[in-house]
């Protein structure tokens, strides 16, 4: 018979999220930390919107940033309209609070997807990937040709301290923006989760699994892909709108391939197959990006390595891993299976440490100094064979643990 969740079980993740969002400002005081948290919120919305396409709808896009960026541009131009209208000004925009700009982002993103999406959605797979790649490049290049809209290299600036303020919700400090981000991230995540429960959400899974069969139950795959594409574009735009308010500047970079790649990276690291996967991915990748760049010049390399490690060793992503552990626990097999998994994790960690050490040492050889080593108070000598022996030992230990835990897993499966 059906295993339906009790209402409390279904509500729990939302109550916990709400609680976490309410507690964060009690624990955090520095503007820097608030900035990172605000960025995490933006990236959660962006990564989840990307997963509506890839994880839910089976459409691999390399141009999703177009809708994020256009949403951001839409929002920042409206922010300027609000500013131009002035506090006591006349007209519609004079009464439009900056707080609602993510809605403008949503509308812009969805409209853009509606305008360009139909020809894209004929096929999924490689054709779709190629076309979206082309779109991304086209829009990024095209943005340089319309400096009045996209602001050229420098982008479009604005000021979020304009327009009517509702309920005293000012947007001066990053800490103020936190409440804005918390509100919108919760709303957007809930909306995207609710979407997965609707008939269209389910049909988007069906088109992912088997587009051919879909036709024989009465639906052309293209229509379904198109609707999902519009929805995903809208939510990406909503994230863009949040970014516009957060940064008060939007540059053409936000439309480009790197930003699109970030969405794919976050979603894949977190896991495409579980709803909360991209949330985990967005948190991990954003924190890594933000923190590592303070400590090492190779931060992008490390994010890339994490991506590689996940794709190779945990293709279901971090969220998929969590889900596996949960199911094992439910079946009462966790005590039996966990040691094997932990061993695997430890081996990956050891090998990663070895890699980090090698990269930093090589970096030190070529640049003469190393931030990470300095921060850690280490003075390793890259020309000393002993240091390199240590690195080799790390790799060897990682390999050993990997073998042992693999044997353990196989013996117990």
């Amino acid at each position: 018979m059906s295993l339906r969740l009790s209402p409390w079980r279904a509500l729990a993740p939302w109550l916990i999220s709400l609680l976490v969002l309410l507690v964060i400002p009690l624990l955090v005081s520095s503007n820097g930390t608030f900035s990172i948290i605000n960025l995490i919120a933006i990236n959660i919305v962006f990564a989840l919107s990307y997963n509506m396409l890839l994880g839910q709808g089976g459409m691999l896009s390399f141009g999703h940033a177009v809708f994020f960026g256009l949403g951001a541009y839409g929002a920042i131009h409206v922010m300027n309209l609000i500013g131009d209208a002035g506090y006591d000004g006349q007209g519609f925009w004079a009464h439009f609070p900056v707080y609602l700009l993510p809605l403008v982002g949503f509308a812009t993103g969805a409209l853009a997807a509606l305008l360009v999406g139909w020809p894209f959605c004929r096929r999924a797979g490689t054709a779709f990937a190629m076309i979206t790649l082309g779109l991304g490049e086209l829009v990024a290049a095209g943005s340089q040709m319309f400096p009045t809209v996209f602001g050229g290299e420098a982008g479009v600036f604005s000021n979020r301290m304009v327009g009517p303020v509702w309920f005293g919700l000012e947007l001066a400090q990053p800490a103020d923006v936190y409440w804005f981000s918390a509100f919108w991230v919760l709303l957007a995540v809930f909306a995207m989760w609710a979407f997965t429960r609707t008939p269209l959400g389910r049909m988007s899974n069906a088109v992912r699994d088997n587009a051919e069969r879909l036709q024989f139950i009465g639906y052309p795959p293209r229509n379904l892909r198109f609707l999902v594409f519009i929805a995903a574009g809208g939510f990406a735009g909503l994230g863009g709108g949040m970014a516009a308010v957060n940064y008060e500047i939007v540059t053409p970079e936000s439309l480009g391939l790197l930003t699109s790649g970030l969405a794919l990276l976050m979603a894949a690291v977190g896991g495409l197959g579980v709803f909360y996967g991209p949330i985990v991915g967005a948190i991990v990748v954003t924190v890594m990006n933000s923190l590592l760049s303070d400590y090492t010049d190779a931060s992008i390399l490390y994010v890339g390595l994490v991506f590689l490690a996940v794709v190779m060793f945990a293709p279901a992503g971090l969220g998929g891993g969590v889900e596996q552990v949960r199911q094992s626990w439910r079946r009462g097999e966790l005590t039996r299976q966990l040691p094997g998994w932990l061993g695997g994790a430890v081996s990956v960690l050891l090998i990663a440490l070895g890699l980090v050490a090698s990269i930093e040492l090589v970096y030190q050889l070529s640049h003469g100094r190393d931030k990470l080593a300095q921060v850690l108070g280490l003075q390793p000598d890259p020309s000393s064979p002993l240091v390199w022996l240590g690195v080799v030992a790390l790799f060897a230990a990682g390999y050993g643990v990997a073998r042992a835990s693999k044997n353990y897993r196989e013996a117990r499966s």
């Binding site: 059906s2 295993l3 429960r197 008939p199 389910r202 139950i217 009465g218 639906y219």
Partner: protein
């Protein structure tokens, strides 16, 4: 217009290969019509033409008197013709129930709905539960369809085909690869499916065919060489030579 399907001079070529070479057939409303023939005769291709998977090279297909040849599969489905596949063709990552419910959305005009939960589309849920019970997979309701045992997946394949309440149903080798017990269950299911519907079925198992069919057509090298009651087909010398004889040998 008492024919559910009217097929006139239907032809299909893949490049130089002429696979369907002028099929004429009348399927009466409410009958169970079996299509038999040797491997590679074009049975699946014939179903593909009728259900819209391929457009015919020439010829006409009428469903309840209306032309459907060359229409897209979803258009044909909307007019009340559904089909199953020889190789199970389900939504692998969705649960059994979800597979069935997705197959029910069309008749509720709900597939594009994004403003309310799927659970609130009462009619689709009711129908999906009904079909779930009918195909005997209630125990596997929440299992991913891709992980089902073979026979269960075949049952789901049939379930998805009939979930949309089409009145003309084509089943392509529904019992292929099943054990004897599984086949007996499948026959029971197909009998229920045939209730109040027109059923066309491709089947290699002669036991199943003679048990279920009101009439049989024999397709050999893209042509129907005989159509008739099981009795007539059994005794038709051409059929014996072309097909049954071959089996006996």
């Amino acid at each position: 217009m008492s024919h559910a399907l009217t097929i006139d001079d239907l032809k299909k070529s893949f490049g130089p290969a002429e696979v369907i070479r002028g099929v004429n057939l009348r399927v009466e409303k409410g009958e169970v019509h079996a299509v038999i023939g040797p491997n590679g005769a074009g049975k699946s291709t014939f179903f593909n033409l009728v259900s819209g998977a391929f457009a015919p090279t020439s010829g006409e297909v009428r469903l309840h008197g209306q032309r459907i040849d060359g229409l897209a599969p979803e258009k044909i489905q909307q007019r009340g013709l559904a089909r199953s596949f020889q190789v199970s063709n389900v939504f692998g990552n969705l649960s059994v129930f979800e597979n069935l419910r997705c197959a029910c959305f069309k008749q509720c005009a709900a597939g594009y709905t994004f403003w309310r939960p799927a659970a609130s589309v009462k009619r689709a849920n009711r129908r999906a539960e009904e079909v779930l019970a009918m195909i005997g997979l209630a125990d596997l309701r929440d299992s991913p369809a891709g992980a089902l045992p073979y026979a269960s997946q075949r049952a789901l394949e049939i379930g998805m085909t009939i979930a949309g309440e089409a009145d003309v149903v084509l089943l392509d080798e529904p019992t292929a690869g099943m054990s004897n017990t599984e086949t007996t269950q499948a026959i029971e299911l197909i009998r229920q499916v045939a209730e109040g519907r027109t059923l066309m079925i491709v089947e290699h198992d002669m036991g199943v065919v003679f048990e279920l069919a009101d009439r049989i057509s024999v397709l050999v090298y893209g042509e129907i060489i005989a159509t008739g009651t099981p009795e007539a087909i059994r005794n038709d010398p051409r059929v014996k030579e072309a097909y049954l004889g071959e089996e006996a040998a």
